[in-house]
């Protein structure tokens, strides 16, 4: 079996990364996981700066997140990642969160692609760039988890992109879409529910100052469906499966 190089970091969760019920904020979970992929790339000599020198940048197309339990304030977790496999168009990266007892709390499968920084279009994935990760080259295109389309809009909120929402790529950081999706739901619901599965599909980048509409449908089966709309374009779709907190 092919085994990609793994990279791990420990992280103690400060209270300010947690919500009012002391669980890790969902957007912060994603930022924390993605951080380790950057750290692995740096460690292997294929940093974002090196990629940029080739005129290339990573873009995120989809997150599939499976949550056994969200970590809480004060816990020390271990985040592990590997660039599991890739084909001509996509790279598939795995992430895990383990608690101090070694139990798996979170698994995330993220689909990346490579963008030509000049044309802002998708490029093909170069073997040389991927070599240091010992990632398996595969032929097939993997299908990620599905998002569900909205049938009825149960509620919506509007947002304007803030200065601190923008990352070094000069567009809205991928984690912020989850902030908009989650925040559209009622606080009373959020304080009594925790996510089990989150699927995010990114369609279009959003820029500083853009206005956003975050629409949701929340069904009795505990599944919420979200559209993040900017300038009449669907910029991202999110589907979250929730369970009641006891």
């Amino acid at each position: 079996m092919f085994v990609a190089k793994q990279y791990s970091e420990k992280h103690q969760i400060p209270y300010y990364e947690c919500d009012t019920t002391q669980f890790l904020k969902i957007p912060t979970l994603v930022k924390m996981l993605i951080k380790t992929s950057g750290a692995q790339s740096d460690a292997l000599g294929v940093s974002d700066e090196f990629m940029a020198s080739l005129g290339l940048g990573w873009i995120i197309l989809q997150h599939d997140i499976f949550i056994k339990r969200l970590p809480k304030a004060g816990e020390t977790i271990t985040v592990t990642t590997e660039a599991e496999s890739y084909n001509k168009f996509f790279c598939y990266r795995h992430f895990w969160v383990h608690d101090e007892a070694g139990n798996e709390c979170v698994f995330m499968n993220t689909t990346f692609s490579i963008m030509d920084l000049e044309t802002r279009k998708m490029g093909s994935v170069d073997d040389e760039v991927l070599a240091p990760f010992e990632s398996e080259k595969i032929k097939r295109i993997r299908r990620g988890e599905k998002t569900l389309p909205l049938e009825t809009v149960h509620g919506e909120k509007e947002y304007t992109v803030r200065y601190y929402d923008i990352d070094m790529n000069k567009h809205v950081n991928n984690s912020v879409y989850l902030d908009w999706a989650v925040d559209s739901l009622d606080a009373a619901f959020l304080m009594t529910h925790t996510p089990e599965k989150i699927v995010v599909k990114f369609n279009k980048e959003v820029l500083y100052g853009n206005k956003i509409k975050s629409e949701y449908q929340l069904d009795d089966d505990g599944i919420s469906r979200h559209n993040i709309i900017s300038k009449n374009d669907n910029s991202a779709k999110v589907t979250i499966t929730w369970k009641s907190l006891d």
Copy 2:
């Protein structure tokens, strides 16, 4: 000379705590500093939970922040705090950020008070609660730095309090006011300037779902003055002295 007990923590700054120019986000700097006061309280057996069991909670009245340089992504900083002194109504706490070479990057002086959790009114500061910090008891009321009133509104933005803005006290976390103040300024200004001094005075708590107006005046001397207004009340005033990034 009286010396209060000090408490220190190291912190490596992940990129996601930084803005698009790689400097630590200002609201995150404040959250990071305040975190250490909670950690010291826990370590000394006077945690927030213990305070709550007495019907008391800490509230923040003012931050005076002096910045030599904002730390950047990847740096490991040391945050140190002490409950320097107190009188009948107020506690004065000091915070420092030092870089790996031991240089002081940031100093913050924060004025706390104690709130009766039932009446939501200010209570008097109890000697017993303060004893473990070895804080000096003083008679005088210290005057913090001054905020400047707005003479002309140069710009304003509106915000709605989000679920993740609320902390365990069920009101907007003190750091979020800085998010609203900074974000009201133009991105082009923020990308080319860095703060040297920040004064925040809190007047009134803001709750989940409240609508906020963030007004600013930015003068040629590089000083920005901010009002954070909720329901026609001035909830906080902020004054920031900026300098150009070279």
